[in-house]
C-alpha cells in the first residue's frame, strides 16, 4: 500500500529522472520500509520522504534542459520540448477531461447547458399523468383548477396545455420577486395551517433577502428550488410550485369534449385499467386493478369485475401497480366488502355524503369474506386510501411493501403565465390516528417483497379457508 503511494509520488518527478532512477528510488524505499517497520520509524520514514520531495522536486525541475538556461533574451522566441517522446493515451485523455471542466464551469452559470433529466413517465400509457407531488420534472403540468375530489390521476389529454414553446424566456429579478410574493400571499390565504403558512412566508422572504434566488434564471430550477424550500419548512410534500414552460391559461382549464372522448377511448382500450379478474385455485378471487378510474366511464367495468368475483371465498385486490385515481371508484369497489355504509377516510377531502360507501351492495356475497390487498412501493394515492381504510377498518390484510406515501396536492393556483402553486386546503380529521399515509405510506400487515406478495396472500387465504 505505502509502496503504491510512493510509486505514485514518484510520478511527480520529471520523466527523465523517473526513467533513470525511478526503479532505484522505489527500491531504496522498499529497503527502508522493510528495515523500518516500527511505528515511529515509519512516521520518520514518511517525514523523510516528504522533506525529500520538497527539496529534490524543485531541483530536478530546475535542472531542466540546458538549452533553457542557454537561451539568450531579446532574440526571437524559440521553443523547446520539456519532454522527449509523445504523450501517451492516458495523458491525452486526462488533458481532454481537464479542459472540459472550465467549459462546463462557464456554461452552467450562463444557462447554456442543462443536465438532461431522465424521464420516468410511463411508456406504455402516456395518457395518464400522475399529479403526485413526488413526480419528477417530467410531470410538471398544471393540475385541474379547483377540482376538489379527484386524486392524482388526471388524463393529460384533458388539460390541453401547449407544451414545448419555441423559446424559454429567462427569469429576471422582477419575476422571481413576483412569484415569491404571490406564492406567499396564496399560502397565507389558502393553506390548511395558517401558522405553517406564516413560517413558510418568513423563510421564503429570508431566502430572498439573503440573495439565494439571485442568478436563478431557469424557470424549472426556480420552481424546484421553491418547492424544496416549501417542503423543508412545512414537511408537507403536497405543497409544490410548478413551472409550465408552455404557459398556464389564466382561466380554469376545463376538459374539452374531444379530449374527454380521447380519455374515454384510452380507458376502453385498457379495460378501465382492470388488468385481470380471475378465480384462482381454492376459489380465491383475484382482481388486478392499475388505477381507480373515473366512475363516469368505468362503472360498468367495475361492476362486472366485482360480479365475477362475487362467488369467491376470499378476494385478493392487487394494487401493486396502482398509481391512484378517483375516490368514487375506491368507494364503489370497497362498498362490496361491507354490509352497512362505512366511512372511508381521505385526508384531503371534505367529509360529505360521498365519504360513506353505498353498502350493502345488492347481491354482494363478499361482505363477510376475507380480503387481501397487495401493495408495493409504487402503490400510490387513491390506492393508498383503499389500503389505508381497509387496514384501519380491519377489513383487509395488507400484504407487500410500504406504499408510496402520496396524496393529492389540493388546489392549483396560477401565479403568472408560467408559475403556479399547489396548496392543500383541506385536512379531514383522521378517525384512526394523528397521521395519514402522506409521505410515510401505508405499512403492510404482512411485509414481503412486492414480487412475493401474491404467493404470500394466496398462502394466507388458503390457511384461513382451511379453518
Amino acid at each position: 500500500m505505502s509502496e503504491k503511494i510512493y510509486a505514485w509520488l514518484l510520478r511527480l518527478y520529471p520523466s527523465r529522472f523517473r526513467e533513470e532512477y525511478g526503479e532505484a528510488a522505489l527500491e531504496l524505499f522498499r529497503d527502508r520500509a522493510s528495515a523500518e517497520r516500527e511505528f515511529f520509524a515509519r512516521v520518520r520514514l514518511w517525514l523523510d520522504l516528504l522533506r525529500d520531495l520538497a527539496v529534490s522536486l524543485p531541483r530536478e525541475y530546475g535542472r531542466g534542459q540546458p538549452a533553457f538556461a542557454a537561451t539568450p533574451a531579446n532574440i526571437r522566441p524559440s521553443f523547446y520540448f520539456a519532454e522527449n517522446g509523445s504523450p501517451h493515451a492516458g495523458a491525452l485523455l486526462t488533458g481532454a477531461l481537464l479542459s472540459l471542466i472550465p467549459v462546463f464551469a462557464l456554461a452552467i452559470p450562463f444557462g447554456q447547458y442543462r443536465v438532461p433529466h431522465l424521464s420516468f413517465a410511463p411508456v406504455r400509457r402516456p395518457l395518464y399523468v400522475r399529479r403526485s407531488p413526488l413526480a419528477g420534472p417530467a410531470h410538471k403540468m398544471p393540475r385541474r383548477v379547483n377540482h376538489p375530489d379527484g386524486f392524482q390521476i388526471l388524463p393529460a389529454v384533458m388539460l390541453n396545455v401547449p407544451q414545448e414553446p419555441a423559446e424559454v424566456p429567462k427569469l429576471d429579478a422582477a419575476e422571481r420577486r413576483r412569484v415569491v410574493q404571490t406564492a406567499v400571499s396564496d399560502l397565507k390565504q389558502h393553506y390548511v395551517s395558517p401558522a405553517v403558512a406564516r413560517k413558510i412566508a418568513d423563510a421564503l422572504t429570508a431566502h430572498e433577502k439573503a440573495g439565494d434566488y439571485d442568478g436563478v434564471t431557469d424557470g424549472a430550477s426556480f420552481a424546484d428550488l421553491l418547492t424544496r424550500q416549501l417542503q423543508d419548512v412545512s414537511r408537507d410534500l403536497h405543497l409544490d410550485v410548478a413551472y409550465v414552460s408552455g404557459g398556464i391559461p389564466d382561466r380554469p382549464i376545463g376538459p374539452r369534449p374531444e379530449s374527454t372522448a380521447r380519455y374515454r377511448q384510452a380507458l376502453e382500450q385498457e379495460n378501465c385499467t382492470f388488468e385481470k379478474v380471475a378465480i384462482l385455485a381454492r376459489n380465491i378471487g383475484y382482481l388486478k386493478i392499475n388505477s381507480f378510474p373515473d366512475v363516469a366511464f368505468c362503472r360498468q367495468t367495475a361492476t362486472e369485475a366485482m360480479t365475477k368475483l362475487n362467488g369467491a371465498d376470499a378476494t385478493i385486490f392487487d394494487l401493486r401497480d396502482n398509481r391512484g385515481g378517483y375516490r368514487e371508484m375506491v368507494s364503489l369497489i370497497a362498498a362490496y366488502l361491507f354490509d352497512h355504509p362505512e366511512y372511508l377516510y381521505s385526508p384531503r377531502d371534505l367529509v360529505t355524503e360521498e365519504s360513506w360507501t353505498r353498502s350493502p351492495v345488492a347481491g354482494s356475497r363478499l361482505a363477510d369474506k376475507p380480503a387481501y390487498v397487495l401493495t408495493s412501493g409504487r402503490t400510490a394515492s387513491a390506492a393508498e386510501q383503499f389500503s389505508y381504510d381497509l387496514k384501519m377498518l380491519r377489513r383487509a390484510i395488507i400484504v407487500g411493501e410500504t406504499t408510496r406515501g402520496a396524496t393529492h396536492s389540493g388546489v392549483f393556483y396560477r401565479i403568472d403565465e408560467h408559475f403556479g402553486i399547489g396548496i392543500p386546503e383541506v385536512k379531514a380529521i383522521n378517525p384512526y390516528s394523528q397521521s395519514d399515509w402522506a409521505v410515510v405510506g401505508v405499512d403492510p400487515d404482512v411485509k414481503v417483497p412486492a414480487a412475493e406478495a401474491l404467493d404470500r396472500a394466496v398462502q394466507l387465504a388458503e390457511g384461513r379457508l382451511r379453518k
Partner: protein
C-alpha cells in the same frame, strides 16, 4: 567555460563522496553509510540521493560499476557506485576547505576542542 554544478559542493553530494571513500556501495548502502557517518542526522531520501548521484555521475566524480563478486542473489540488478580519482580529489579539497574554516573558527574562539 560552463559554470560547475558542484561549486560550492552541496552537503549531500559531499557526504556521498565520503561514503564511497572506503568502498563501492549501492544507493541504499550509501544512504545507510551517510546516516551512520552523520550520527543519524542525515538520512538521504530517494529524490535527493539519486539527484545527487546523477550530478556526480555527470561530473565524473563517481562511476557506476559492476556489482561486487559477493553480491547476494537478488542484489544483481542493484547499481553500485565507485569514487573516481577526480571525486576523491574534490572530496579532499572540500575537507580541507572545511578544515580551514575550523581553524578560523577555533582561532576566533567560536569552537573549542581538539578537532582537526
Amino acid at each position: 567555460m560552463p559554470k560547475r554544478k558542484l561549486d560550492p559542493l552541496p552537503w549531500a553530494a559531499f557526504q556521498i563522496l565520503l561514503a564511497l571513500a572506503d568502498e563501492d556501495r549501492h544507493g541504499y548502502g550509501i544512504m545507510r553509510q551517510v546516516e551512520q557517518q552523520t550520527d543519524r542526522r542525515l538520512r538521504l531520501g530517494p529524490g535527493t540521493l539519486y539527484g545527487s548521484i546523477r550530478t556526480l555521475l555527470d561530473e565524473k566524480l563517481i562511476v557506476e560499476v559492476e556489482p561486487r563478486g559477493e553480491a547476494k542473489a537478488g542484489e544483481e540488478r542493484r547499481r553500485y557506485y565507485r569514487l573516481t580519482a577526480a571525486g576523491r580529489k574534490l572530496a579532499r579539497a572540500e575537507a580541507e576547505r572545511l578544515a580551514d574554516l575550523l581553524r578560523v573558527a577555533r582561532s576566533k574562539k567560536i569552537l573549542r576542542g581538539d578537532y582537526v
